[in-house]
């Protein structure tokens, strides 16, 4: 199954090294992480050492080697959000979900990340769950946001 998907992604690009990051991005989008066997296949088919692929996968923040939750929660810690109390919002999420930043809940429903500026500073503090942006978040609004995605 993974093998066919990876071939499909590889076919979208010229099989040279300049496409490597784009291939990994598509893979990340497909599985919300980079499965080891997929990386091995890419290494073989693109004729790139696995170590080089892993160096990219660990350098760029967009990539994850571990599976993510169904609803990735990204709490913005950009400057505008910071001065409006974003750190406290992040900690509230940690307490409510019972996980630390960078971790995923056991039921694989949520993973929590801190990000640097989502570019909607007018709504600070901002939290993004999946593709949905929540603006002007307060600590007291956090439980309701989580509840919305639990259904």
């Amino acid at each position: 199954m993974i093998e066919a998907k990876v071939s499909d992604i590889l076919n979208r690009y010229a099989r040279d090294e300049s496409s490597l990051i784009a291939v990994l991005q598509d893979l990340q989008e497909e599985y919300s992480y980079l499965p080891r066997e997929a990386l091995e296949q890419i290494s073989k088919e693109m004729n790139v050492p696995l170590s080089r692929i892993l160096s990219l996968a660990t350098f760029f923040k967009a990539f994850s080697l571990k599976p993510k939750g169904k609803h990735p929660i990204n709490v913005c810690l950009g400057t505008a959000c910071h001065v409006r109390g974003a750190q406290l919002i992040l900690e509230k999420f940690e307490r409510e979900l019972g996980i630390k930043t960078g971790e995923t809940t056991q039921d694989l429903l949520f993973s929590l990340e801190a990000v640097r500026c989502l570019g909607c500073c007018g709504l600070a503090p901002v939290v993004m769950v999946g593709e949905e942006v929540h603006g002007k978040v307060t600590q007291t609004k956090v439980p309701a946001i989580i509840k919305k995605y639990k259904k």
């Binding site: 990051i21 910071h82 001065v83 570019g119 500073c121």
Partner: protein, 608 residues
């Protein structure tokens, strides 16, 4: 792709679909409008258009009615039937949905009369709110690609470069390098196989800045047209637009725009029948702040680790795959078509002696009118903060404004009359950067802000060179110590010493500028550092280790009648007391999250 023949409508409703308004349910507003228009049988007369970011994000969701330029704000789905009936059927604009300045009694109906918009001069953002970014026809109707026709059919490369040079345009991404000069360097550079590249840097990483996102989302063709003109000037055959990973909508709109431009023969082979070939590829960033640095960005386009390399050689000589490469940022490219169309002299007539034209700023943080504005260079900080920004919310005192992102610095309230241009900002210890302005009030702690930026640069340092990797970590450790009340006076000297070394010895711009937020806060707000070190106090009550939350029993009992809201919201059961009696905080359990302070309606919770 078929070209849709545009029908004519009596009224256009321009609904803002920028990221801010979308998260405020702009698409639901659009649907409600379309439904109501249909129900009223107006679908042949009235058209709903979704536009890019209007700029006045604070007041979203927004809509502008054309003709008339009537500005509606903070709309809800419930308002729509009434709005359609009153404004569109009866011709009576709805006052209660218009913007009313806090200090005035009557609303301001027309967009251009609202203070937020009044002082703005739109060049890079010329089409904002006026076109559908997914329609090339809309862009063309606003004189789009006119400058390209002029550049391809009536001008030589030298004439194009000359026009950009006399315009005085400088790079809008941060460093402010003269654009005309950069183009000349790439034009002069020799490439063995005549390959030259052009890159649009859309890796907008500075927290607090979102103008490039807004331009790419609201007016992608302005960037494409700018790049086409640049390609003709320097002799490039292939362009790249590098867009930040966090901006999926920008990627989508750029891809649509590129397809449309190719369909119309504005991109690809033999453009407009002039024999000129040029195409553009989109490259998505993968989440690394350092990739905004040009050599790191180029490495990342080549599929390598986004690590910077020493310059020279500059990309103008040896860039992508070793070929001469011209890199400009999104806003710079968006200015080019206007400069070619209206002339470099016209552009140079705006602004100051050394900083020409306009600049887009995002004003965010502790300010009433957050949003995106484009103003002439040389405008004072006061005009931006008070006239356009509407001052500080809640009657608080303005303390500082942070410009230039993690590379910039904090400008104190005393410098409120500072003209905003490249030189004045640098002289004040900060920099123009990409144009983010984060406003801070009396409740912002400047030591915490400095620590915040160092934690950012420390986190984003790629680790290649030691001064940046280890130096920022050492500075962060000291700043953290100070915010925890464990700092000593020697720490300040040590910070300054480390800052000098990092600035001097780092490989790229990230490290060279990382100490700036610390240096400017030490220069203008040294007393706050001293308060943390000597008195073990955070004057703004931000540094949590130094805060103690207490409940005033008298206020809690007499005014709040022991309402119990604080206890119910406390995450750690640190509040003792039951309904009807004065409450108390158990300091051993308190984690200082401040929720009790936020939820108390009676001001009984105090921070010391």
């Amino acid at each position: 792709m078929a070209v849709e023949k545009e029908k004519l409508y009596r009224v256009h409703l321009m609904v803002c679909a920028g990221t801010g308004c979308v998260s405020n349910h702009a698409f639901e507003i659009k649907e409600a409008l379309e439904k109501e228009i249909k129900r009223r049988g107006l679908e042949k007369e009235v058209k709903v258009v979704t536009t890019g970011c209007n700029g006045f994000c604070e007041r979203g969701p927004l809509m502008v009615v054309q003709p008339g330029n009537i500005f509606y704000q903070m709309l809800t789905v419930k308002d729509i039937p009434y709005l359609v009936e009153e404004h569109l059927l009866k011709g009576r604009p709805v006052k209660k949905l218009m913007y009313q300045p806090p200090e005035e009694k009557t609303p301001v109906p027309v967009l251009s009369e609202i203070n937020f918009f009044k002082k703005q001069v739109l060049v890079a953002l010329r089409n904002r709110g006026l076109i559908d970014p997914e329609k090339i026809e809309d862009y063309i109707a606003r004189d789009g690609y006119k400058a390209l026709v002029k550049a391809l059919t009536q001008m030589t490369p030298e004439e194009i470069i000359h026009e950009v040079t006399i315009s005085g345009l400088r790079g809008r991404g941060g460093a402010g390098f003269p654009t005309g000069l950069k183009w000349q360097l790439v034009r002069n550079a020799i490439s063995p196989d005549n390959e030259k590249y052009l890159v649009c840097n859309g890796d907008e990483g500075d927290p607090g800045a979102f103008m490039d996102r807004s331009i790419l989302e609201a007016d992608p063709h302005s960037v494409i047209e700018g790049m086409l003109i640049g390609a003709k000037a320097i002799g490039a055959t292939q362009g790249f637009i590098y867009v930040r990973n966090e901006y999926p909508l920008a990627v989508k709109r750029i891809l649509i725009a590129l397809d449309q431009a190719r369909y119309y023969g504005l991109l690809g082979h033999d453009i407009l029948g002039t024999g000129f070939d040029f195409d553009i590829r989109v490259v998505r960033g993968a989440g690394a702040f350092v990739c905004g640095e040009e050599t790191a960005l180029l490495a990342s386009i080549e599929g390598r680790l986004g690590e910077p390399r020493p310059r020279p050689p500059y990309p103008a000589e040896k860039g992508l795959w070793g070929k001469p490469t011209c890199i400009n940022n999104v806003e710079t490219w968006a200015n080019i078509p206007v400069i070619i169309d209206r002339g470099g002299k016209w552009f140079a007539s705006i602004g100051t002696a050394t900083s020409k034209g306009t600049k887009v700023f995002s004003i965010v943080g502790k300010i009433n009118n957050t949003g995106l504005v484009e103003v002439p260079m040389g405008i004072t900080l006061r005009e931006i903060i008070y006239d356009i920004g509407g001052g500080i919310p809640g009657g608080k005192k303005f303390k500082a404004v942070q410009t230039g992102g993690p590379s910039g610095g904090c400008i104190p309230a005393e410098l409120i009359n500072l003209p905003i241009d490249y030189e004045s900002l640098t002289a004040a210890g900060s920099m123009m950067g990409s144009g983010g302005m984060v406003v801070m009030d009396e409740d912002t702690c400047m030591v915490d802000v400095a620590r915040y930026f160092l934690s950012f640069t420390q986190d984003e340092s790629c680790g290649k060179c030691t001064p940046c990797r280890e130096g920022t970590k050492a500075m962060l450790d000291i700043l953290t110590r100070i915010t925890e009340g464990k700092g000593t006076e020697e720490d300040l000297g040590l910070l300054e010493e480390l800052a000098d070394t990092i600035k001097e010895a780092s490989l790229c711009g990230l490290g060279k500028t990382a100490p700036n937020p610390v240096l400017t806060t030490l220069r203008y707000f040294r007393d706050e550092y001293i308060a943390h070190i000597q008195d073990k106090k955070c004057p703004a009550h931000v540094c949590r280790s130094l805060n103690v939350y207490k409940i005033d029993p008298q206020i809690c009992f007499e005014k709040g009648h022991g309402c119990d809201v604080c206890r119910r919201n406390c995450a750690t059961d640190a509040i003792i007391g039951s309904k009807g009696e004065a409450h108390k905080i158990d300091q051993t359990k308190c984690i200082k999250c401040g929720v009790c302070f936020d939820v108390c309606h009676f001001g009984a919770v105090k921070v010391e």
